[in-house]
């Protein structure tokens, strides 16, 4: 049963990778990479149960945090063009 969940997660990751490769805008790629990271968290957890070693959950926990920070950093860079700015909206664009 864990093998079936692993297969389903791998199929979903392949679909997300497809969207990341052919996404027309950069935001499609960011969305697909974010979904890929979330599926990686689940895949590590399920693989830990599949191998009988639930200690993998620690790695999965850390990966969830890294994935979130990475996505927010990339989005801030895309929105402001700079990682050091404060949170004001860029002027001249709505």
């Amino acid at each position: 049963m864990f093998a079936a969940a692993t297969l389903a997660l791998l199929v979903t990751m392949a679909l997300a990778l497809t969207r990341a490769l052919l996404g027309p805008t950069i935001y499609d790629r960011v969305l697909a990479v974010n979904a890929f990271g979330t599926k990686t968290v689940l895949l590590i957890a399920v693989l830990g149960f599949l191998a009988g070693r639930p200690d993998f959950l620690d790695i999965s926990l850390v990966y969830a945090l890294i994935n979130f920070i990475g996505t927010i950093a990339v989005l801030k860079f895309l929105k402001f063009g700079d990682l050091g700015t404060h949170g004001e909206e860029p002027e001249g664009e709505s």
């Binding site: 049963m1 979330t38 689940l42 957890a45 149960f49 959950l57 927010i72 801030k76």
Partner: protein, 111 residues
Amino acid sequence: MIGVVADLVSWALILGGSVFAIIGGVGMVRLPDVYARMHGASLTDTLGAGLIVAGLAVQAGFTLVTVKLILIMIFLIITSPTSTYALANAAFTRGLKPILGKSEDESSKTS
């Protein structure tokens, strides 16, 4: 008896989560717009991840593993809407308009 029931419940939860994950992945590929694709991606983040983690927690029982699974689920629940909101905000700030109304001829090209 209890073990068999727990196995059945966790298998049903894990299979349901897998089905929702695949549905969200297909939606991520086939939907016409960034804002529509966020819908598919957030479906895999909420229902897919939630059901799979719930199934794993039922499989693990009342142990430290369940605590870690609940922590993972709390992080996912907090971070997934936040990153989706930031993505939509960044895309809209950069001037990417959502497809409104009937635009089937445009949407079928990008699928």
